[in-house]
Amino acid sequence: MAATDVDIFSNEEKRNLSLGGHVGFDSLPDQLVSKSVTQGFCFNILCVGETGIGKSTLMNTLFNTMFENEEASHYQNGVYLRPRTYDLQESNVHLKLTIVDTVGFGDQINKEESYKPIVDYIDTQFENYLQEELKIKRSLFNYHDTRIHICLYFIAPTGHSLKSLDLVTMKKLDSKVNIIPIIAKADTISKSELHKFKIKIMSELVSNGVQIYQFPTDDGAVTEINSSMNAHLPFAVVGSVEEVKVGNKAVRARQYPWGVVQVENESHCDFVKLREMLIRVNMEDLREQTHARHYELYRRCKLEEMGFKDTDPDSQPFSLQETYEAKRKEFLGDLQRKEEEMRQMFVNKVKETEGELKEKERELHEKFEQLKRMHQEEKRKVEEKRRELEEEMNAFNRRKVAAETLSLSQPLKKDKDKKKVTYEKTSCPTSEKTGAMTVVKLLDFLCSSSS
């Protein structure tokens, strides 16, 4: 019953009622203000520009302090970012200011990769915030927000147009951060040249689709000033921390032999406009834009990459859960499938190698058999020959015995003859005998080696 009542009410139009007396919720903004004052504010500025163009000096001039800064060298191998955090206080308002400097920007001979470290840094800050947001136990109100709220892009005062590096870098940055282009060292451009230069820069930015930060013109109190300032972009600034006596005041200025350029003189440069816009009027809007536009864009892209979808408009946490589960199942399924595949492959491979090994074994066996047969053959032949030889030896021995008996029956007469004969006879049998001996030895040797 109650649920349907609520439904009906939320579908009706909201009615405007007038109050009978003073209730007191008009103090809500004040409560908010006092809460945020106690919490303190956080602001992050990124300064992008060539070495020596005046980034550190401008920061010192804007915030009227001397932030520690060493002069950078021109010979860095690449671009790297140097973030520094400071705690400032004015009346009772605390500001945690982070200034990120690009060191080595524009110095290399090949500047095609110069924008990458900057984009990576911005993305990392977004990523850190996203991780914090997605945590189970999170403390966003305590979190030190390092996301870049504003990027001041310093343009060199050539007087012609933007440099190619400026264009390329700004195009890469315009969807990730609020960009305000400023013309640095503007005391080198005369008034007429400046006017032409500004028009040229803005037309180049527009024709290349670079979206720079527009001061908001929908907030009643500041519409007028903002829209007039929008027409003065890019601001031509001069920075200085040295003081020069002008009239009877000491003002921040640069002293030249031909005159004194006063930083806070509106007819000399647009420094005052920049300070107004950046700090005094639109700082909060810059933070909001960073969170509502740039960060949301980053988050959406990142989550879409991971495969999440917003199919259910009013129960977003649930769909996150569901899609998470679905993704998990899918992932596990994938994993299993891959495992199976790998196992299959492994088994196949094992089978293959087994088959190969069996083949080889069989071949070896065959060879062995063959060799064995050959060996048998040879042995048989050798045996035959041996038998023959033995027969010959036996025959010879018999002849020998016969001859000896013959010689014994006729001992005296035939001494000399006997000697001769024996001499002859001994020569023959020895040779024969040695011959037979060597053959026997050879046979023995062969038999032993073959066995």
Binding site: H74, Y75, N110, E112, S164, L167, T188, W258, G259
Partner: protein, 369 residues
């Protein structure tokens, strides 16, 4: 101006001692003067540096002409992949009867692309080409009308927005310092206070020395020059690299009409020595050292190129064709002892054979007779 005065004073002195020893060759400088005025001079100046540093304005200010009418500048997106071009403008200007054929070689696109690897190559190629052309003409048969297009001086513009030389500056100067006289300049000096100018000049000088870059050095003065001249020369040398501002618009300052730049906080006068070094540059480039620049180009850079060229040619020829070369070959490496001995032996044999032949011939003659 000062040089003219010097000639005249010398002439006067010799006239005083004219009684016995006056031969008359003291008029030689005047003769040279007359002939050169008749012949006319030529000078080729190259300007190099990134766009937007005021090169064209400075050239216009130096020579008080407008060389860059109807110039088309590229947009940033067109410049992303720009290559370096070489453009030449030639003008004939005349002053008090002296004609000067001035050629300005411009290098649009240098250092403008995102990837500037070897962006100085077209420039070095151009300079080498001019040397080569002159070399060919000089070695040719008809040498009457040689066109001298060699680059006599290169003004290199260093941006004042940084802390010193950048890698691209260093690489460019190192590639060119042995081919042309380099005069480095700090451009758009109206963005630097006097302290900053001094710091930057010291920095640039140190870095030039550190990297071993040979920029154009002013010749030493002779010891018999006047003190004033020596003083000027010393100041000139201490002021390098010159910090210049250019302008072609005339503004009203302190009741006078001067060339300058008008700012809300003051007027920068181009020809005011306390504002910038434009006057020093102009004096150096045009009034006192123009001829020296030409001489150094002819005597040093061109001779280096020529020697290098010839050496390459001979080493190539020696490789291809040992017996037959029109140019004198370098001596062959000394043969070793073994071959020498063999050669000697063979020689002796040959001699003996010849002697025997002669004897035999004699015998035959005797027999005949």
């Amino acid at each position: 101006m000062t040089t003219n005065i010097r000639y005249k004073s010398r002439f006067m002195k010799s006239e005083e001692s004219e009684d016995k020893q006056y031969v008359g060759f003291a008029t030689l400088p005047n003769q040279v003067h007359r002939k050169s005025v008749k012949k006319g001079f030529d000078f080729t100046l190259m300007v190099a540096g990134e766009s937007g540093l005021g090169k064209s304005t400075l050239v216009n200010s130096l020579f008080l002409t407008d060389l860059y009418k109807d110039r088309k500048l590229l947009n940033a997106e067109e410049r992303i992949n720009q290559t370096v071009e070489i453009t030449k403008h030639t003008v004939d200007i005349e002053e008090k009867g002296v004609k000067l054929k001035l050629t300005i070689v411009d290098t649009p696109g240098f250092g403008d692309a995102v990837n500037n690897n070897e962006c100085w190559k077209p420039i070095t190629d151009y300079i080498d080409q001019q040397f080569e052309q002159y070399f060919r003409d000089e070695s040719g048969l008809n040498r009457k009308n040689i066109l001298d297009n060699r680059v006599h001086c290169c003004l290199y513009f260093i941006p004042p927005f940084g802390h010193g030389l950048r890698p691209v500056d260093v690489e460019f100067m190192k590639a060119l310092h042995e081919k042309v006289n380099i005069v480095p300049l700090i451009s758009k000096a109206d963005c630097l206070t006097p302290n900053e100018v001094k710091k930057l000049k010291d920095r640039v000088r140190d870095e030039i020395e550190h990297f071993g870059i040979k920029v154009y050095q002013f010749p030493e003065c002779d010891s018999d020059e006047e003190e004033e001249f020596k003083q000027m020369d010393k100041e000139l040398k201490e002021c390098t690299p010159f910090a210049v501002i250019g302008s072609n618009t005339v503004v009203e300052a302190r009741g006078q009409r001067v060339r300058g730049r008008l700012y809300p906080w003051g007027i920068v006068e181009v020809e005011n020595q306390s504002h910038c070094d434009f006057v020093k540059l102009r004096n150096m480039l045009i009034r006192s050292h123009m001829h020296d620049l030409k001489d150094v180009t002819c005597d040093v850079h061109y001779e280096n190129y020529r020697a290098h060229c010839i050496q390459e040619m001979t080493s190539k020829l020696a490789q291809d064709n040992r017996t037959d070369s029109p140019l004198p070959i370098l001596p062959l490496p000394t043969p070793d002892v073994e071959t020498e001995r063999l050669i000697k032996m063979k020689d002796e044999e040959l001699k003996r054979m010849q002697e025997m032949l002669e004897k035999m011939q004699q015998q035959m003659h005797e027999k005949d007779q």
